[in-house]
């Protein structure tokens, strides 16, 4: 029944948005929707037995287990922050004429629907259903990218749609394979993950390998893994920053989530012996491509977007190690990366508003006097950057540290290569920050930069997320750790 509550809240928010005429009210509806989602999630975590059994009466398509609720928790928190951020950000877009007033309603309708669809995707037990919801997230988020209706945005959105949807069709074929495999098992055919994981050990490895390879194509494209990452930088850089945060913090997780689920099934079969090195290879290639693309990058949002690609690569490596500890820290990294990346996109969004269109073309950021003009955003980028390159006490440090430790146990050479690539990525980020943030325009040139007045609603999410990251990183709260280790046991690692 809880699922109905999610749907009902969304419907209510939709009604409010459709009926209201001013931006603030629409935005408030979105914030409230996300907040209620957070509360519902917290309620499930605290007061319900997880995995929730048969809570959606008469349907075998949905379920809630620890992994699902974990992802939903991350998603709802980021959505709440992003909705709050959008309050000031979208207002600015409307004022500068980049977003038409008439598109506002469409924007917020898509926004609310996106949250619902993502939550439903994480709660789907049936993999085909998960596929449909994942596909819908592509379409809706593409709509959010294209909403600015500049040609580049439409280009980016279309590239995103075609790459993601075309690859997702392969995933669907893979699911059909999986279904066919499950029909040979004692329990007649089913695509429900809970059934599949139970019978996984008897599945024929050959077909399993084929099925995983096909499924991997689409989900890799969703989560921006090499060689399907090409849509990601353009889409993330062109989207409104509030949307970029969601794309990077939540939507990439949808792909990774699917990969984890399916890999958990493969892990039960001998096919894992071939699949794991494959994942490792793709992970390292992804990190490598991202690191070398970051080096010459002149655009802040693209830089941050490539950093997401890099982190997806790390997640894949963590999954490929496939020890319980590696999986544990990989899940931790998912959370840490999402929160950090969202805050980074929020900060770069402020800088984008400050500098875009005044001096620079869209491909190069001309940032100067940043500490005088936007001190919060500057510190947000610096702290977020430190967090994303895994310095203690930020949480990514712990996850990357332990993943690398585990990787060293697998192969020392791979570890060295990966560390080298991570170093390059960190260097690229640091180089960008140092060169750009130290630029100060000479005396007398002060007048030509119009100060962008940052609304409070855009500042709160950054501060909140950074504080949250610090708290997690310093305290490493025990219940949370316990929670993640339950996911690991549920995935049967």
């Amino acid at each position: 029944m809880i699922l109905l509550a999610f749907i009902a809240v969304t419907l209510l928010a939709l009604v409010i948005i459709i009926l209201s005429h001013n931006h603030l009210r629409m935005n408030t509806a979105c914030i409230l929707q996300a907040l209620i989602f957070v509360i519902l999630t917290a309620y499930i975590v605290m007061f319900r037995q997880i995995p929730v059994e048969s809570f959606f009466i008469g349907s075998e398509y949905f379920f809630i287990d620890h992994l699902g609720i974990f992802e939903v928790g991350i998603a709802t928190i980021i959505f709440t922050c992003a909705a709050l951020y959008a309050r000031g950000y979208i207002e600015g877009l409307v004022e500068s004429g980049e977003l038409e007033k008439g598109s506002l309603k469409l924007f917020y309708v898509a926004w609310t629907l996106l949250l619902l669809v993502i939550v439903l995707a994480f709660f789907s037990d049936n993999l085909a259903l998960f596929w449909i919801f994942a596909e819908l997230t592509t379409i809706i988020s593409a709509m959010l990218i294209a909403i600015l209706s500049a040609r580049e945005n439409i280009d980016a959105a279309i590239k995103y749609i075609f790459i993601a949807s075309v690859s997702m069709l392969f995933t669907f074929v893979g699911f059909i394979f999986l279904f066919e495999i499950s029909r040979t098992s004692p329990d007649a055919g089913s695509l429900n993950w809970t059934d599949l994981i139970q019978h996984a050990s008897v599945f024929p490895p050959g077909m399993m390998l084929a099925a995983f390879a096909l499924i991997f194509i689409g989900l890799a494209a969703k989560s921006g893994i090499f060689p399907f990452h090409t849509w990601l930088p353009a889409a993330h850089a062109k989207a409104p920053s509030a949307v970029s945060a969601i794309l990077s913090g939540v939507l990439l997780n949808v792909g990774i989530y699917g990969i984890i689920r399916v890999y958990a099934i493969v892990h039960q079969t001998p096919a894992a012996g071939i699949v794991a090195p494959m994942l490792m290879l793709f992970g390292i290639l992804t990190v490598g491509i991202a690191a070398f693309s970051m080096l010459p990058q002149k655009n802040l949002k693209k830089l941050v977007a490539f950093s997401s690609v890099e982190n997806m690569g790390i997640l894949l490596i963590g999954l490929a190690i496939s020890t319980p500890i590696a999986l544990f820290w990989m899940l931790f990294q998912i959370m840490a990366h999402s929160l950090t990346k969202a805050s980074l996109f929020f900060s770069s969004g402020i800088l984008h508003r400050q500098y875009a269109g005044q001096f620079s073309s869209d491909t190069v950021d001309d940032i100067r006097d940043v500490f005088r003009l936007q001190p919060l955003a500057a510190w947000g980028i610096i702290l977020g950057g430190l967090a994303i390159i895994a310095l203690p006490p930020f949480p990514i440090f712990f996850s990357e540290f332990f993943i690398m430790l585990q990787l060293g146990a697998v192969s020392l050479w791979v570890l060295v290569i990966t560390l080298f690539l991570l170093f390059i990525a960190a260097g690229a980020l640091g180089y960008f920050v140092i060169t750009n943030f130290t630029k100060v325009s000479g005396p007398g040139a002060d007048d030509d930069i119009k100060h962008y007045h940052t609304p409070v609603s855009m500042k709160i999410p950054i501060i909140f997320l950074l504080a949250l990251l610090l708290i997690i990183g310093i305290l490493l709260p025990h219940p949370g750790m316990e929670f993640i280790s339950q996911i690991v046991t549920e995935l049967k690692f």
Binding site: I158, I161, L191
Partner: protein, 230 residues
Amino acid sequence: MIDTSTIEGIIRILFVGIIITAAYIISTRNLLSVVSVYAVQSLTLVFIALALYSLEGSLVLLAIAIITFFSKVLIIPYFITTIQERIRIKRDIEFHFLNPTTSLLISMVLMLVIYMVLSRIMQGTPARESLFFFGAVLGISLMLMGMMVTFSRKRVITKALGFLSMENGVLLFGLFVTELPFIIEFLIIIDLIILVLLTTILSVGIDSTLEDYHQRLHRFHLWEEPGEDS
């Protein structure tokens, strides 16, 4: 009741129809005819589903035939034609990477490869009967051919058609290999319709030759990259 071998013969003929339409979609440069050929291809799929229905008697197949008919034979082609009239583009002569001839030759090789791979993978599964196996091979081939269309054309609207033809391939594969619950098939169709709506509307922005749309875009300073021509 017609006997099984007749129906299997009919299905084989319909397979050929699908191959012909796929080859046509890959190699033609005329946008208008691509849409109608796509409709014909979907119609062929409907007939295949009906033939399978008369063979197996499962109601899901009948339902699939019906929704496929309404969505892919009627609604989607109609919608795309309307958009095409709006953007006034009739020919698609720009290609990335592959021109139609090469794509045709490549797709031939692909079919062979798929045949070999599938026959290795599907050894010993119930689907390894000749007719159903051919259906599966054809489904995947159609999918890959659609993918080549999607990635080798520059016009968004042809890309969308390539994607749709890919989806037809998936449907064909699904029909012959296994049987999914109806609700899933239905949701996929919904998903497809939304996707087509979105991409075609966006394609008005990209493919459009209408002057006013460009002027509207010019107003935003976001669109001033050098070398952008359209």
